[in-house]
Amino acid sequence: MAAFWREYRESWIAVVALAVVLLVVAAALLAPWITPQDPYDLANLNLRDARRAPGFVGSGGYVHWLGTDAQGRDLFSAILYGLRISLQMGIAAGAVAMTLGATLGILAANAGGRIEQAIMRVVDLQLSFPAILLALVLVAVLGQGKVPLIIALVTAQYAYFARTAYGAATAERQKDYVEAARATPLPGHRVVVRHLLPNCLPPLIVVGTVQVANAISLEATLSFLGLGLPPTEPSLGMLIANGFQYMMSGRTWISVYPGIALIVLIVAINVVGDQLRDQFNPRLRR
């Protein structure tokens, strides 16, 4: 672990990215304590404060550092609360997709024969089909809300995990240690869970980080298109969509700041994922 961290530290960009990710997660977790207002408590909102430029001192008596949106919400607060929802969606969808995908992938690699064929055919088919279309249709069919959205994101993403797990598991199970474990009287599922699975984890973790970023981005896209979460639970995508109509009249901050928050988060997660991939990749080992 210490050696792993020492190697990670060699890339200062990756360290900065990790710091940014941690900072954003912390800020999102602590949002109720560090924001000047609860943006979804209607009693706090005053329409006279609506669409004010950054730096405006509103009726609450504090400075709106990032301005306010069309309902008079403090944008800084709205962004942190939006980040909470975006992160929730991304992590939940990523975790479920990873569990489902890894199970299917390892099952396929282990079972062989018809089961392998059937699972991997479906996975390959899905990989050739753009995730966004799939998610779009599912959200349209299942309706709005957190659970339908997570189902849509998981369906759109599990195939990546299944492919990765399948690849890793087929490579691992030919190795001697698996062979040796199988020769012992241990039950088959124990060999899979205790021996095969841990060795398939590194590539899955890399795909996992990238897919969390993708899930956040996909969720934002769907919300931007008006197909994501209901307006009562505004994620970053919806904040951006709400600001879009005011952009033409020069009130750009309503869209731009939530967008910057979104991008900083996604890019930082991707940089961390890239670094992890390089470190896990045996071919790049010195």
Binding site: L125, S128, F129, P130, I132, L133, L136, V137, L138, A140, V141, L142, A213, S217, A220, T221, F224, L225, G226, L227, G237, I240, F244, M247, M248, G250, T252, S255, V256, G259, L262, I263, I266, V267, N270, V271, D274
Partner: protein, 324 residues
Amino acid sequence: MLGYVIQRLIQASLVMLAMSALVFVGVYAIGNPIDVLISPDATQDIRAATIRHYGLDLPLWQQYLAFLGRLVQGDLGRSFVLNIPVLELVLSRLPATLELALASVLIGAFIGIPLGIYAGYKPDSPVSKGIMAASVLGFSVPTFWVGLILILTFAVNLDWLPAGQRGPTVEVLGVGWSFLTLEGLQFLALPALNLSLFKLAMMIRLSRAGTREVMLSDTVKFARAAGLSEFTILRRHVLRLISIPLVTVFGLEFGSTLAFAVVTETIFSWPGVGKLIIDSITSLDRPVMVGYLVLVAFLFVTINLVVDLTYALLDPRLRRGGRV
């Protein structure tokens, strides 16, 4: 070879069948389309008549079979909202999307490949590092956000290009194309650039990786020994060697570009099929949703089939059936 082709054709039709069933069940089985069709205060008689008219009283599998029967004849049903045949509707919107997708793939190739080759040729130069950093951004920044920034920069602040809609079209072969006029091109520029960013990033990565590999090969050593200039080596040897995987990805990407056009078209109010599907989702126009999805699935299966068959032509090992 013939056996392989037949095998792949059967596979492709099975996939199409499965997709059509999934789409049909997914879109029709959940929720009741009749609520969209008639106003809630219609009489029971009108309600029953409408249900019978659309065959919505039959069991689902009969509805599916009827749908499949019509599908084979090229009849995708009529739009609930606009009351025109879905196929006609989709086809009338298709040229706009094709134009957009083609423009963006071309931008991706003509800018991305040279940049990628440069980054692979001089991997340590600051310019290359800048190119690679930009490609990471292109991969990770969501399309809709880039679209907003493009509109903000070029349409609102600089006022150089229009912020949306499609420009005037010129009729060629009975279809309107907008890239033939200067004004049409101005309207095309921002959406095409927006849609191309992902492809651009990918082309950069692929051609960089390919170039780095090829530069170490004997081909390049011998070409250098023969006294060819570096530019000639890059153009005549490296470009040719890396072009095979690029062409494959290019083909596959064209399909996904059509899909991603959904986002770009919505932002730029581009009247293509992507905007159509979003509109049909918001107005619960089920026949249009089903028709669009079946067409897209058909497109994907066809592209994959063509790619597989091309591979089989290029690589004899694949012809003897079986998996790779």
